[in-house]
Symmetry: C2
Subunit: 206 residues, 2 copies
């Protein structure tokens, strides 16, 4: 059993409020991106790309868009949920050191992507495996990562000049943090609680 | 820099041919499933479940289905690709110790899943993050994992009694292996080569 490996798995958090804005050394960023790029992919298609966003104006434009989407979601909630939601910070776009936007290119290796003929979404799944490698590597490096999903994909594609047909999958805020919380933010704020593992495990049949 | 962590990231392979069938101790399986369950999820929805399949008859039925889907894919290839594909083993369902099927329940935490209002697929993304945690933990434990995707989702749902509305996302073969190959199978067999990282990284805009 590799305690240090499991420590990374269990320490990892989805960070919103603890970014310091301190720089990330180039060699550290390279190791984190190399880890993402080492993920498995359907048919070895490696359908991901990584856009490293440091530009303040681009991040400010994204932040403004996310703020509007926050309001859209808040308007769907009942009064009690809206009150809980009001206390929850949903992104650290401006405070984090940089953002990494991860995209999916369904055309890579197409048309005969080995393993994708029966399930079109497997390409998208591969991109998510790369994202989790990135997230864990950043955690191992002492960095925080926060996945922001309060956005419309066409807005992000337009903002970053993503070519038609390529889909933004994640906007990740990345950077040094003061600390990682012991429990997820949404649990600390009473939004939802974690499910016991035993409820998620079935044997032979559901 | 945590060398042992990066060793797991870079040693991990998608295993088809090296399973020994040796048992997996319960405490090891528990650590691997706990790692999967520790993944981040949109709105803390934890929309995954894990079906641990040891039953030989169930695995044999899946293996037969996969064999038929292999033929379906082979029939779409030109002669040169078909010849390369004929040499590639695509699954180790019968030789591995057990399978873990990972599913997605879009109803968990719904309707107000925090972070899913603008992008419906974020729930599916969460399940993939859990899969990569599982894969890396298994690697850290000296186990191999092979993701089989030559199947139709309704067949797997029927075979395992997965309730309507819940989607099978991955069929993973898991177990001790003789060794992990240094390069991906598809590269060793000349199906595809890995892309240099520098081609996948962009700065500020695509």
């Amino acid at each position: 059993m590799d305690n240090r490996f499991y420590d990374v798995i269990h320490r990892r958090r989805d960070v919103r409020g603890q970014f310091t804005g301190a720089p990330i050394p180039d060699r550290v960023l390279h190791r984190v991106l190399s880890a993402a790029h080492a993920a498995p992919s359907v048919g070895l298609s490696q359908p991901w790309d990584f856009i490293v966003v440091r530009d303040d104006a681009v991040r400010a434009a994204f932040h403004e868009h996310v703020t509007a989407e926050r309001e859209t979601f808040a308007a769907t909630l009942d009064a009690a949920a809206a009150e809980r939601f009001a206390r929850i910070k949903i992104e650290g776009v401006l405070e984090s050191t940089l953002s990494i936007v991860v995209t999916y290119d369904p055309g890579r290796g197409a048309p005969a992507v080995l393993g994708r003929h029966a399930i079109a979404d497997t390409g998208l799944y591969s991109v998510c495996l790369a994202i989790q490698n990135l997230w864990l590597a950043a955690t191992a490096e002492g960095l925080g990562v926060g996945w922001v999903s309060f956005y419309r994909e066409p807005f992000v594609a337009g903002l970053l000049g993503v070519p038609a047909g390529i889909r933004p999958v994640a906007w990740l805020c990345v950077g040094p943090v003061t600390h990682l919380e012991a429990a997820p933010d949404l649990e600390r704020h009473g939004w939802r609680h974690r499910r016991p593992l035993r409820k998620a495990v079935h044997h032979d049949r559901w």
